[in-house]
Amino acid sequence: MKKKVLATLLATTMVFGLAACGNSSDSASTDTANDAATTDDAATADTTATDDAAAADDSASSGDLIKVGIINNDPNESGYRTANDKSMKEMFTAENGYEASFAYSLKNDEQITAAQKFIQDGVDYLLLSAADVSGWDSVLQDVADAGVRVILFDRTIDADESLYEASIVSDMAKEGETAVTWLKDQGLDEYNIIHLQGVMGSAAQVGRSGALDEAVKNDGWKLVTQQTAEWNAEKAQQIVQSVIDSGEKFNVIYAESDDMAKGAVAALDKANISHGVGKDVVVMGFDCNKWALEELLNQNWNYDGQCNPFQATYIDEVIKTIEGGGEVAEKTIIMDEKGFDATTITQDDVDSYGI
């Protein structure tokens, strides 16, 4: 009996211990682009002046560098995020006049903690891709009080516009509209669509589904099935497989991500249903992964909508403007986003827009 109690106790402690470990490891991933050691903890944070980033690049004295703290989502989340993070790291280097620290988390509270730490570190700019839209008011107020400027990227938040300088985002609804307009222009005899949705309620899903739903309502298109595959290729494959097994006719696959389109195509291949330019089924994807654009180039797919992960250049411009004493004209900056058609895409497009 005693032993059991002890075991349970120990187990409980373990869980808490683990939870604690989880926290600490997450905050430990708050590292600079150049060296992890610089922002290890509060102790070193006080003496950030002796920065490895600066040491690595002696030519620029640390005073000239603009200090930015970047709070992003976990780069493993998706190919989009990986590309986004990569472009950030490429942009905010000492060569370009920046000294950057990064923090990653998919959780709002951890992101807020990271923000507070960046205030202490005395960054000049805080670049934020928030996990949740709400809960940022007070911490952003603190940031403003500390004289730090905030630039949002990729995701907006529910906070007063005065709290940030600019918000650089994709317009998911517009991405959807571009895609649906393209589909309309194809002038198919009938539209029997398999609609593979992302995780329900996510901004990308809502935007990309909205345009299609609208068209289905107005143009008499038919949804053979409308299912969420939760960005998961395997699930998409199973859903399409299920439609194929049922023998229902379809001629369009509208997948809200490249991964899901890939899963769908795997099911088509298995059933010998031809797809691509001039074939039985029109395949549409989003995100412009390099491999997806290659599929377009090979005319296996028909369309891929871009979701631009390269906010870094926009942010750079905004910072340059502010540093130069200028005013940012628009608070909300919508990025250019293209839709690629298999019949017109070129190798150059693949190279420059593939992520």
Partner: protein, 360 residues
């Protein structure tokens, strides 16, 4: 005494462990038969590469349920020996898949040709996921950490490790032969994943027949003290079940990455651990360890896939799937409760008694 052994009565069927998954499977099949008999249609066609393939809902179930069936084998052993479950199998499968791609690509995320034979990549993945299993096994068997807590570590960290193995790249294998494992081998019309699952089952049957693994794991699961005094090494046996599960996970990883020729670290084999545990439970095995019935677990795995496919067929929103699985779990728990079972047996006895009277 001999008669008792061979005697086959309805009462025994109710009491037999394998009754639950088979009954569940029949229930689902009958449901489909009534609503739409085309569920059972199997046709022979050709895929885009011109190879003969079988298709139909039943084939889809056998195909997609394979990974779960393979995992159920390992999970049953772990459950039996340790009285706990491994919740890191999904994350470990991601690691295994990532390792396979890493070896095949050799660092280049979009190679023209595979940089190594598939078998080599697979063996390296087996090694990697055996190591993961060994890590879990040491925590559970040697340090006596509760299995769910111990495997929580890899559950949390596994997918990041998987991403790290490929430097956060998403490699794509364009070589046709790599897709055989998740699709069809030219000339064979049965989905390869099912063949692989079948192979795993055969190997398991042989292992059960030609080794004492079954007896040892059950003995350790039921009474560790006693097993120790009978010369067994409970620590090693618990450890080895995790390593065996590791091998199963590597096979699953191979099938998963082969299905789409690439990997998505955050969603590959997502939530599969819960399905695997459910398969074990659906097989009527006590999750607290001890006696197990491997066949029942494997059937349980296919029951889950059958449920999933059925729901897809009827266009049920796929994010509602977990809710339906929850219903299954509830039914399962209730129906395996002793009181309900006693009631079943009693009611059945009543029915048969009546019939006998009427006949007589």
């Amino acid at each position: 005494m001999k008669d008792m052994k061979t005697k086959f009565s309805v009462k025994n069927i109710f009491r037999n462990q394998i009754f639950i998954p088979i009954a569940a499977m029949l229930l689902l099949l009958i449901f489909n038969l009534i609503l739409d008999p085309s569920f059972f249609k199997v046709t022979l066609g050709y895929n885009s590469a011109g190879n003969p393939v079988l298709s139909g809902y039943l084939i889809t179930i056998l195909d997609s349920g394979s990974e779960l069936a393979i995992l159920a084998i390992g999970m049953t052993l772990v459950t039996a020996a340790t009285g706990g479950q491994d919740i890191s199998v999904g994350a470990t499968a991601a690691i295994a898949g990532s390792v396979i791609l890493r070896v095949l690509c050799g660092g280049n995320s979009r190679p023209e040709h595979m940089q190594a034979p598939i078998i080599v990549a697979f063996l390296v993945a087996v090694l990697a996921s055996m190591l993961c299993g060994a890590f879990n096994g040491i925590l559970v068997a040697y340090f006596k950490i509760q299995p769910m807590v111990a495997t929580l570590i890899l559950y949390t960290a596994g997918r990041s490790i998987a991403a790290w193995i490929n430097n956060n790249e998403l490699p794509v294998i364009s070589d046709e032969s790599f897709s055989y494992f998740g699709g069809f081998i030219p000339g064979i019309c049965i989905p390869t994943p099912f063949l692989i699952a079948l192979l795993c089952i055969i190997v398991t049957v042989l292992v059960m027949k030609f080794t004492t693994l079954g007896l040892y794991t059950q003995a350790v699961g039921i009474n560790e003290h006693s097993s120790k005094l009978n010369g067994l090494n409970p620590i090693f046996i618990k450890f080895i079940t995790f390593v065996i599960l590791g091998v199963c996970v590597a096979v699953v990883g191979l099938i998963k990455v082969s299905r789409i020729s690439t990997i998505n670290y955050s969603v590959i084999a997502k939530d599969i651990e819960m399905d695997a545990i459910l398969a074990v439970a659906l097989g009527g095995n006590a999750l607290g360890g001890g006696k197990f019935n491997m066949t029942a677990s494997i059937i349980g795995a296919y029951v889950i896939q059958c449920l999933t496919t059925t729901l897809y067929k009827f266009n049920v929103q796929s994010d509602a799937l977990p809710a339906y699985k929850a219903v299954v779990v509830i039914l399962l728990v209730v129906s395996s409760a002793p009181t309900v079972r006693a009631w079943f047996t009693k009611t059945w006895a009543g029915i048969t008694a009546k019939n006998v009277k009427e006949v007589g």
